[in-house]
Protein backbone atom coordinates (compact mmCIF):
# COMPACT_ATOMS: atom_id res chain seq x y z
CA UNK A 1 0.00 0.00 0.00
CA UNK A 2 2.88 2.28 0.84
CA UNK A 3 4.26 2.01 -2.66
CA UNK A 4 1.02 2.33 -4.56
CA UNK A 5 0.69 5.12 -7.05
CA UNK A 6 -2.04 6.96 -5.30
CA UNK A 7 -1.65 10.49 -6.55
CA UNK A 8 -3.62 12.11 -3.79
CA UNK A 9 -1.59 10.41 -1.10
CA UNK A 10 1.58 11.48 -2.85
CA UNK A 11 0.33 15.07 -3.08
CA UNK A 12 -0.68 15.00 0.59
CA UNK A 13 2.73 13.60 1.46
CA UNK A 14 4.40 16.44 -0.42
CA UNK A 15 2.15 18.99 1.22
CA UNK A 16 2.93 17.64 4.70
CA UNK A 17 6.64 17.56 3.95
CA UNK A 18 6.42 21.22 2.98
CA UNK A 19 4.91 22.13 6.33
CA UNK A 20 7.66 23.21 8.67
CA UNK A 21 7.66 25.08 11.92
CA UNK A 22 7.70 28.78 10.97
CA UNK A 23 9.94 29.78 13.84
CA UNK A 24 13.27 28.64 15.15
CA UNK A 25 12.74 26.87 18.45
CA UNK A 26 15.38 26.85 21.17
CA UNK A 27 14.08 25.44 24.39
CA UNK A 28 17.31 24.00 25.82
CA UNK A 29 17.71 26.55 28.61
CA UNK A 30 14.01 26.61 29.36
CA UNK A 31 13.85 22.80 29.62
CA UNK A 32 16.97 22.57 31.80
CA UNK A 33 15.67 25.37 34.02
CA UNK A 34 12.32 23.65 34.27
CA UNK A 35 13.96 20.38 35.26
CA UNK A 36 16.02 22.22 37.86
CA UNK A 37 13.10 24.30 39.07
CA UNK A 38 10.70 21.39 39.49
CA UNK A 39 13.48 19.53 41.36
CA UNK A 40 12.92 16.49 39.22
CA UNK A 41 15.09 13.72 40.52
CA UNK A 42 17.71 12.32 38.25
CA UNK A 43 16.25 9.21 36.65
CA UNK A 44 18.91 7.01 38.24
CA UNK A 45 18.05 8.34 41.70
CA UNK A 46 14.36 7.88 41.12
CA UNK A 47 15.07 4.42 39.85
CA UNK A 48 17.11 3.58 42.94
CA UNK A 49 14.29 4.93 45.10
CA UNK A 50 11.86 2.78 43.22
CA UNK A 51 14.22 -0.16 43.61
CA UNK A 52 14.56 0.42 47.36
CA UNK A 53 10.81 0.66 47.72
CA UNK A 54 10.34 -2.56 45.77
CA UNK A 55 12.94 -4.38 47.86
CA UNK A 56 11.30 -3.16 51.10
CA UNK A 57 7.90 -4.28 49.82
CA UNK A 58 9.31 -7.66 48.79
CA UNK A 59 10.95 -8.14 52.23
CA UNK A 60 7.66 -7.27 53.96
CA UNK A 61 5.83 -9.68 51.70
CA UNK A 62 8.34 -12.46 52.40
CA UNK A 63 8.13 -11.82 56.15
CA UNK A 64 4.36 -11.95 55.96
CA UNK A 65 4.47 -15.19 54.01
CA UNK A 66 7.02 -16.61 56.49
CA UNK A 67 4.86 -15.76 59.49
CA UNK A 68 1.78 -17.21 57.83
CA UNK A 69 3.63 -20.39 56.92
CA UNK A 70 4.93 -20.74 60.50
CA UNK A 71 1.42 -20.36 61.88
CA UNK A 72 0.07 -22.82 59.34
CA UNK A 73 2.87 -25.29 60.03
CA UNK A 74 2.40 -25.08 63.83
CA UNK A 75 -1.32 -25.48 63.42
CA UNK A 76 -0.93 -28.43 61.11
CA UNK A 77 1.65 -29.93 63.46
CA UNK A 78 -0.81 -29.63 66.34
CA UNK A 79 -3.55 -31.06 64.23
CA UNK A 80 -1.38 -33.93 63.13
CA UNK A 81 -0.26 -34.68 66.70
CA UNK A 82 -3.88 -34.70 67.82
CA UNK A 83 -4.84 -36.99 64.99
CA UNK A 84 -1.85 -39.20 65.91
CA UNK A 85 -3.10 -39.38 69.47
CA UNK A 86 -6.59 -40.24 68.30
CA UNK A 87 -5.32 -42.96 65.99
CA UNK A 88 -3.12 -44.33 68.81
CA UNK A 89 -6.12 -44.38 71.09
CA UNK A 90 -8.12 -46.15 68.42
CA UNK A 91 -5.39 -48.71 67.95
CA UNK A 92 -5.15 -49.17 71.68
CA UNK A 93 -8.91 -49.58 71.84
CA UNK A 94 -8.89 -52.11 69.01
CA UNK A 95 -6.04 -54.00 70.60
CA UNK A 96 -7.80 -53.91 73.97
CA UNK A 97 -10.99 -55.20 72.41
CA UNK A 98 -9.22 -57.89 70.46
CA UNK A 99 -7.18 -58.79 73.56
CA UNK A 100 -10.43 -59.12 75.48
CA UNK A 101 -11.84 -61.27 72.73
CA UNK A 102 -8.76 -63.48 72.80
CA UNK A 103 -9.04 -63.74 76.57
CA UNK A 104 -12.69 -64.69 76.23
CA UNK A 105 -11.88 -67.29 73.58
CA UNK A 106 -9.06 -68.61 75.71
CA UNK A 107 -11.36 -68.83 78.71
CA UNK A 108 -13.98 -70.60 76.63
CA UNK A 109 -11.36 -72.93 75.21
CA UNK A 110 -9.95 -73.68 78.61
CA UNK A 111 -13.46 -74.33 79.92
CA UNK A 112 -14.04 -76.67 77.00
CA UNK A 113 -10.79 -78.47 77.50
CA UNK A 114 -11.45 -78.66 81.21
CA UNK A 115 -14.77 -80.21 80.39
CA UNK A 116 -13.21 -82.64 77.90
CA UNK A 117 -10.42 -83.53 80.22
CA UNK A 118 -12.95 -83.95 82.98
CA UNK A 119 -15.04 -86.12 80.77
CA UNK A 120 -12.05 -88.24 79.83
CA UNK A 121 -11.06 -88.53 83.43
CA UNK A 122 -14.63 -89.46 84.26
CA UNK A 123 -14.60 -91.98 81.46
CA UNK A 124 -11.42 -93.39 82.77
CA UNK A 125 -12.84 -93.51 86.17
CA UNK A 126 -15.87 -95.22 84.88
Amino acid sequence: MKHDDNILLQQATDAIRDISCPKQVDVTDAVMARLQHTQLLAPRQSRSLWLRGSIAAAVCLLLGIGINLTILFTRSYDESSISNMISELNTFNDEYISANNIMMVEEMASDYFDYEEGAEETDLEY
Binding site: M1, K2, N6, L8, L9, Q11, A12, T13, D14, A15, I16, R17, D18, I19, S20, C21, P22, K23, V25, D26, V27, T28, A30, V31, M32, R34, L35, T38, L40, A42, P43, R44, Q45, S46, R47
Partner: protein, 178 residues
Protein backbone atom coordinates in the same frame (compact mmCIF):
# COMPACT_ATOMS: atom_id res chain seq x y z
CA UNK B 1 20.76 13.37 14.65
CA UNK B 2 23.33 11.45 16.67
CA UNK B 3 24.46 7.98 15.62
CA UNK B 4 22.79 5.22 17.65
CA UNK B 5 25.89 4.49 19.79
CA UNK B 6 26.33 8.17 20.69
CA UNK B 7 22.64 8.42 21.58
CA UNK B 8 22.87 5.38 23.85
CA UNK B 9 26.03 6.71 25.51
CA UNK B 10 24.42 10.07 26.27
CA UNK B 11 21.27 8.41 27.61
CA UNK B 12 23.37 6.15 29.86
CA UNK B 13 25.24 9.19 31.20
CA UNK B 14 21.96 10.97 31.95
CA UNK B 15 20.68 7.85 33.70
CA UNK B 16 23.90 7.74 35.72
CA UNK B 17 23.11 11.19 37.06
CA UNK B 18 24.94 13.45 34.61
CA UNK B 19 21.91 15.66 34.25
CA UNK B 20 23.64 18.29 32.09
CA UNK B 21 24.10 15.68 29.32
CA UNK B 22 20.37 15.92 28.73
CA UNK B 23 20.93 19.38 27.25
CA UNK B 24 22.76 17.65 24.36
CA UNK B 25 19.66 15.62 23.58
CA UNK B 26 17.44 18.72 23.73
CA UNK B 27 19.78 20.67 21.46
CA UNK B 28 20.00 17.86 18.94
CA UNK B 29 16.32 16.95 18.71
CA UNK B 30 14.43 20.16 19.41
CA UNK B 31 14.24 21.08 15.71
CA UNK B 32 12.85 17.70 14.71
CA UNK B 33 10.40 17.73 17.61
CA UNK B 34 9.30 21.29 16.83
CA UNK B 35 8.62 20.35 13.20
CA UNK B 36 6.67 17.25 14.16
CA UNK B 37 4.71 19.22 16.77
CA UNK B 38 3.88 21.92 14.25
CA UNK B 39 2.69 19.35 11.70
CA UNK B 40 0.44 17.87 14.38
CA UNK B 41 -0.87 20.99 16.13
CA UNK B 42 -0.34 23.76 13.57
CA UNK B 43 -1.08 27.21 14.91
CA UNK B 44 -3.49 25.84 17.46
CA UNK B 45 -0.94 25.71 20.26
CA UNK B 46 2.33 27.40 21.09
CA UNK B 47 4.89 25.00 19.64
CA UNK B 48 7.52 26.11 22.20
CA UNK B 49 5.32 25.02 25.09
CA UNK B 50 4.59 21.64 23.53
CA UNK B 51 8.28 21.06 22.73
CA UNK B 52 9.25 21.90 26.31
CA UNK B 53 6.63 19.52 27.62
CA UNK B 54 7.93 16.80 25.30
CA UNK B 55 11.46 17.09 26.69
CA UNK B 56 10.32 17.19 30.32
CA UNK B 57 8.30 14.04 29.64
CA UNK B 58 11.28 12.52 27.85
CA UNK B 59 13.51 13.17 30.86
CA UNK B 60 11.13 11.46 33.26
CA UNK B 61 10.54 8.59 30.80
CA UNK B 62 14.22 7.90 30.06
CA UNK B 63 14.48 5.04 32.61
CA UNK B 64 11.92 3.22 30.44
CA UNK B 65 14.13 3.50 27.32
CA UNK B 66 15.17 -0.05 26.40
CA UNK B 67 18.21 0.63 24.20
CA UNK B 68 16.64 -1.45 21.44
CA UNK B 69 15.17 1.14 19.10
CA UNK B 70 16.48 4.53 18.04
CA UNK B 71 16.15 7.35 20.56
CA UNK B 72 14.34 9.35 17.88
CA UNK B 73 11.55 6.73 17.74
CA UNK B 74 11.19 7.01 21.52
CA UNK B 75 11.11 10.82 21.24
CA UNK B 76 8.46 10.68 18.47
CA UNK B 77 6.34 8.41 20.63
CA UNK B 78 6.50 10.86 23.52
CA UNK B 79 5.75 13.76 21.18
CA UNK B 80 2.65 12.02 19.80
CA UNK B 81 1.53 11.25 23.36
CA UNK B 82 2.02 14.81 24.58
CA UNK B 83 0.23 16.26 21.53
CA UNK B 84 -2.62 13.78 21.85
CA UNK B 85 -3.02 14.62 25.56
CA UNK B 86 -2.89 18.34 24.85
CA UNK B 87 -5.23 18.40 21.89
CA UNK B 88 -7.64 15.73 23.05
CA UNK B 89 -9.00 13.01 20.79
CA UNK B 90 -11.90 14.84 19.18
CA UNK B 91 -10.21 18.17 18.65
CA UNK B 92 -9.89 18.94 14.94
CA UNK B 93 -9.33 21.92 12.72
CA UNK B 94 -5.68 22.70 12.81
CA UNK B 95 -4.42 25.53 10.62
CA UNK B 96 -0.97 26.08 9.17
CA UNK B 97 0.89 29.16 8.06
CA UNK B 98 1.22 29.63 4.32
CA UNK B 99 4.47 27.95 3.37
CA UNK B 100 6.94 28.90 0.77
CA UNK B 101 7.90 26.13 -1.62
CA UNK B 102 11.35 27.35 -2.48
CA UNK B 103 13.06 24.03 -1.86
CA UNK B 104 10.65 22.02 -4.00
CA UNK B 105 9.83 24.52 -6.71
CA UNK B 106 13.13 24.59 -8.54
CA UNK B 107 12.68 24.23 -12.28
CA UNK B 108 9.01 25.20 -12.19
CA UNK B 109 7.57 28.13 -14.08
CA UNK B 110 5.87 30.93 -12.13
CA UNK B 111 2.48 29.62 -13.20
CA UNK B 112 3.33 26.06 -12.06
CA UNK B 113 4.62 27.42 -8.76
CA UNK B 114 1.35 29.26 -8.15
CA UNK B 115 -0.69 26.20 -9.07
CA UNK B 116 1.36 23.99 -6.81
CA UNK B 117 1.08 26.44 -3.93
CA UNK B 118 -2.70 26.62 -4.42
CA UNK B 119 -2.99 22.85 -4.42
CA UNK B 120 -0.80 22.51 -1.33
CA UNK B 121 -2.74 25.22 0.42
CA UNK B 122 -5.98 23.29 -0.22
CA UNK B 123 -4.36 20.08 0.95
CA UNK B 124 -2.99 21.72 4.12
CA UNK B 125 -6.48 22.95 4.96
CA UNK B 126 -7.89 19.47 4.36
CA UNK B 127 -5.13 17.86 6.45
CA UNK B 128 -5.91 20.35 9.23
CA UNK B 129 -9.52 19.19 9.21
CA UNK B 130 -8.68 15.52 9.66
CA UNK B 131 -9.20 13.85 13.03
CA UNK B 132 -6.10 13.99 15.19
CA UNK B 133 -5.35 10.27 14.94
CA UNK B 134 -5.70 10.25 11.14
CA UNK B 135 -3.52 13.35 10.81
CA UNK B 136 -0.90 11.84 13.13
CA UNK B 137 -0.77 8.60 11.11
CA UNK B 138 -0.53 10.53 7.86
CA UNK B 139 2.17 12.86 9.17
CA UNK B 140 4.24 9.95 10.47
CA UNK B 141 3.75 8.19 7.13
CA UNK B 142 5.54 11.06 5.45
CA UNK B 143 7.99 11.62 8.28
CA UNK B 144 11.41 10.08 7.73
CA UNK B 145 9.66 7.48 5.56
CA UNK B 146 8.38 5.55 8.54
CA UNK B 147 7.11 2.04 7.85
CA UNK B 148 3.63 1.06 9.05
CA UNK B 149 5.23 -0.99 11.83
CA UNK B 150 7.20 2.04 13.02
CA UNK B 151 4.08 4.22 12.88
CA UNK B 152 2.23 1.59 14.95
CA UNK B 153 5.13 1.56 17.42
CA UNK B 154 5.17 5.36 17.74
CA UNK B 155 1.38 5.66 18.02
CA UNK B 156 1.20 2.57 20.23
CA UNK B 157 -1.61 1.06 18.19
CA UNK B 158 -1.91 -2.10 16.07
CA UNK B 159 -0.67 -2.37 12.51
CA UNK B 160 -4.23 -2.82 11.20
CA UNK B 161 -5.29 0.34 13.04
CA UNK B 162 -2.53 2.30 11.26
CA UNK B 163 -3.64 0.91 7.91
CA UNK B 164 -7.22 1.85 8.66
CA UNK B 165 -6.24 5.35 9.85
CA UNK B 166 -4.26 6.07 6.69
CA UNK B 167 -7.00 4.61 4.49
CA UNK B 168 -9.64 6.80 6.19
CA UNK B 169 -7.37 9.85 6.04
CA UNK B 170 -6.90 9.33 2.33
CA UNK B 171 -10.65 8.85 1.81
CA UNK B 172 -11.49 11.99 3.79
CA UNK B 173 -8.86 14.01 1.94
CA UNK B 174 -10.31 12.87 -1.38
CA UNK B 175 -13.77 13.96 -0.24
CA UNK B 176 -12.52 17.36 0.88
CA UNK B 177 -10.54 17.90 -2.31
CA UNK B 178 -13.54 17.25 -4.59
Amino acid sequence: MFPKETEYEIVRKVLDGEKEQFALIVKEYQGVVANLCYKLVGNRLEVDDVVQQVFVELYTSLPRFRFESKLSTFIYRITVNVVSKTLGKNNRYVTYDANVLENRSEGLTEEEKIMKEEQHSKLRKAIGKLKNEQRTALVLYTYDDFSYTEIADVMQVSLSKVESLIFRAKKNLAKMME
